[in-house]
Subunit: 565 residues, 2 copies
């Protein structure tokens, strides 16, 4: 009897437990039929004992379509996958001290608050963060010019003065922000000599060069495989040298090794007008840059990682090569030529900076402009720019760069080029200049001097900074119109700034007004550029409108809006 | 031994079950400590057997604060209570065919797409939906003037021409959209006679009036309680009559009954300059309107429901009285006076319309303006308007009203007032007119003619509609400058329209540009007014910019935005 009772008790207990579990699974389970069917009561914590209802719920979006939401008590939960498209907001799951959390970001961009007054001989804004040459729209760094070649508006490539100047300004700024580079001279034809491996029939000798006023290394490979230097730890990938060839078949090749893949990638510099050429072979490819006519001394500064990456992209290989995985295996010269100051360094920012400055000096035309050789469309069928146009932004950025080159080198031809660069600011867009007027009253320096004007904000402010750099660094008696142009521009900026304010962001330009189009909203990185520029100007001009507007625009980046009535 | 084993088994089983339940509560329950602690696996339906994880998750909002979200699988759910504040979006739980759903609304406002060309003698926009007189900022309908008294910018009350015109235009439009009103003449002194309850000592008689050229009722209550008419089903609450008193102590009182509360509310009209006065008594109150000097014939049109509601508000009673609960219990006249055409109707829109038109005729000044007697501040410390200013919107709406009065009545004094109303359009804001110029080039008719200008959009377009109504309905040889003013205004509108476009809504005005402030975003009802106005104009002007812009602005109301670059 006792046994039976116990057995019965046991059975009942098991039945109750099973039932509980069945109920649990049923109520927690996912539905198949109705849209409010998967329902689960979550017990409230601690004191409160009322259940919370968690269920699926349809959300009707503006009466236009429906999405699946969730409801818990009186709270409705909206899926982020909907919100990110609807509002173009950003979110990601991250770990915060071991706990998973979701980071909601209204904008993806960043503002750099200046800590001191802007200095025309110092870093240019936050350009030390720029890596102009690795951008996809940069085809490569030309070996004849030492500056980037853009494919932004023409796939075949062209020199874009804005990009050339930004390349130089970024390296100028990196030079100020980075550690002192590691640098090793391999061969200077005199005191430092490399261990050249000279095959039979080939020769190297060190002569005094009457053009360079220094000793140089002369090499002649004749019919051999070439003369080489083997490197043990060639991890500094910025190469500099002075080079000229006395035969047309000359070449300099650097063999880069991918340490992970044990693959060798040759990068060559040859006497050829070609910009960049890639030859695929099984498992590897060779990249060749043309030095143009190479009988004269060429001062080369090459970031070999960038040189290889650009070949890598052209070879059709998708994934980029990591700089840290590369080292120089050996260098090889062929043909008959001379070289000097063969150097490897972790960086050579000033070399690259001066490449840009020199390019700008060489390519300025008699009107003081840096003509842009590609057609530019602003809006379909409206306001095109024909090849040969100048950009106030290009002029301004070039001026910022050239004034720094003048400041650092003391060489007056940089100053002269910067001063000449102001000439298009006084000439109307209709006459080939960059000057427009808002409603015939407020002068504006046009990044894109279209007719009718487009009033691009960021390009205008870059041009103002260029003018300011001239004012700051040019000898007082040579400043010319720079102060007037700057003051007039600042006056226009302060007056027209509110027209760029949408109450929740900014517009990139005023084409909606001049062309009667929808406003061309600035994406967040341009919006933050606007703010960074205003913050820079606020360090040199105390008018409160600059900080007030910048502050409001910063607040838009975390979802604040201007008040409505 | 067996018993012991069973007891042990039972104990173990209970322990296991308890443990399971503890685990269940812990995992499903609401957390007290960790933010990811309430976790529950929901079984996927049908074929898929993978569990979905539903859990609490912290969302970090722009790195500034945290809210509690939910996570299910890879989807994160954001609480609507956060979104409605962050984005100012609207949502409510509703039933759709028995199923609960959540209605997400980007805006709360509505667009009325016109179905036909705008007609200057037809309904005015969607004003048939307006109930100007019931608005909180309307103190009451004056019994001397027959038009609303505004408290919007001055608590003591004043006549605001814009509101007077809108009151008239709304009734004109209701007259066209509503059914024919029910109407009952109670007494016309001749053919229709009411059953007056005349106490001892009092008298009524019907005489021919040599001023009105018709028979009227003359009453004299002497020392009695007054002469009255009892009504059986007095549910038509719009009273009209012609009334004058021959003694200063005369009064007309309508006793309204709240059928639910069995309370009687008297509404009186007396010879007094007072606008409205309320006397509280226990459980009820009496409302009195002054007729001013009342020796001359007064043509009264009163919505008794509105008259009572305004007293109700002034009596300090919060909740409004429902029209459907009210009926007229009886009417009472006191003192010595005459009345005629005593009528009760379900509405008398044209009576109210002409009250407005006549007020505008009476109160137009020699410059053609309807001066506004209150100070108006546009932005703190900036751009104030001193009492006596004109509003282009007021002028325009008055013109729309007066042209309709002229069209319906054929009376030339309405036309003359409308034509005179254009005069301030040609006079600058700085000289007391309403005309401003955007950048000295585009004329704009200012709702608020501040210096510097404010360029309010909706008021400007109302002024254009007024000009159009003059062009449409005035005799060709009397149109004057109306066509020119309209054409110039349309030209400005089309050019400046893009400046009101924020890419996700509109601005109310251009004060951000003229005063250097944050943009004054239009709330959704002004945004939809902008759209409704453009759609109206698009029926009389085929320029595609009107429909293009209206279409884009409509799309903003469901969350679309202009493209960013």
């Amino acid at each position: 009897m006792a046994r039976l009772n116990l057995k019965l008790l046991l059975f009942l207990l098991i039945a109750v437990v099973s039932c509980t579990l069945v109920t649990y699974i049923f109520t927690c389970g996912h539905p198949t039929s109705s849209h409010t069917s998967f329902i689960h009561r979550l017990k409230e914590s601690s004191s409160e004992s009322r259940g919370k209802l968690y269920e699926e719920l349809l959300c009707s979006i503006n009466g236009m379509y429906q999405i699946s939401c969730r409801k818990e008590g009186r709270e409705v939960f909206i899926p982020f996958s909907f919100l990110e498209k609807y509002y173009e907001v950003y979110g990601k799951l991250t770990k915060n001290r071991g706990h998973e959390q979701f980071e909601w970001s209204h904008s993806y961009s960043k503002v750099f608050k200046p800590t001191m007054r802007y200095n025309s001989s110092g870093m240019f804004m936050y350009f030390s963060n720029y890596n102009v040459e690795v951008r996809d729209r940069v085809k490569c760094i030309s070996a004849t010019e030492g500056v980037p070649v853009s494919t932004q508006w023409e796939a075949s490539g062209y020199y874009y003065p804005v990009q050339v100047a930004q390349y130089g300004l970024s390296h100028y700024s990196k030079n100020l922000s980075d550690h002192t580079p590691k640098k090793k001279i391999l061969e200077d034809g005199n005191l430092v000599t490399a261990k050249w491996q000279v095959p039979k029939g080939a020769s190297v000798k060190r002569n005094y060069d009457h053009e360079k006023f220094t000793h140089v290394l002369e090499f002649n490979s004749h019919d051999s495989m070439g003369i080489s230097i083997k490197l043990r730890q060639g991890i500094d990938l910025v190469l500099s040298l002075d080079l000229r060839f006395l035969s047309m078949n000359g070449s300099l090749t650097i063999f880069l090794e991918d340490r992970d893949r044990s693959t060798i990638f040759p990068v060559s510099f040859v006497c050829s007008p070609v910009l960049i050429q890639v030859l695929n072979s099984s498992g590897s490819y060779s990249t060749t840059y043309g030095l143009g006519s190479c009988q004269n001394w060429n001062q080369l500064t090459r970031d070999l990682h960038v040189d290889l990456v650009k070949g890598h992209v052209l070879s059709g290989r998708g994934k980029k090569l990591l700089k840290t995985k590369l080292r120089i295996h050996h260098l090889l010269v062929k043909g008959h030529g001379q070289l000097d100051n063969l150097t490897l360094a972790s960086s050579n920012h000033m070399g690259m900076f001066y490449s840009s400055a020199d390019w700008l000096v060489r390519h300025q035309d008699s009107s003081g402009g840096w003509p842009i050789g590609v057609k530019r469309k602003i809006a379909s069928g409206k306001a095109d720019l024909d090849p040969g146009w100048y950009s106030a932004m290009g002029q301004g950025q070039a001026m910022s760069l050239l004034m720094r080159a003048y400041y650092r080198s003391g060489k007056s031809h940089y100053l002269e080029a910067a001063l000449k660069g102001m000439k298009p600011f006084s000439k109307s867009s209709t006459e080939g200049g960059v000057r427009a007027y808002f409603m015939n009253q407020y002068p504006w320096y046009e990044e894109y001097p279209t007719v009718p004007p487009s009033f691009v904000l960021n390009g205008f402010i870059y041009s103002l900074i260029g003018l300011y750099d001239v004012v700051s660094l040019a000898p007082h008696d040579q400043v010319g119109d720079a102060q007037l142009l700057f003051d007039q521009g600042m006056h226009s900026l302060k007056k027209l700034l509110p027209l760029f304010d949408t109450g929740s962001g900014t517009v990139y330009d005023l084409r909606h007004f001049t062309l009667g189009l929808a406003p061309n909203l600035a994406r967040w990185d341009y919006h933050s550029t606007h703010i960074n520029q205003l913050l820079l100007l606020s360090t040199i001009d105390s008018d409160p409108i600059l900080t007030t507007v910048a502050g409001r625009w910063i607040s838009y980046m975390s979802g604040k809006r201007a008040a409505h009535n």
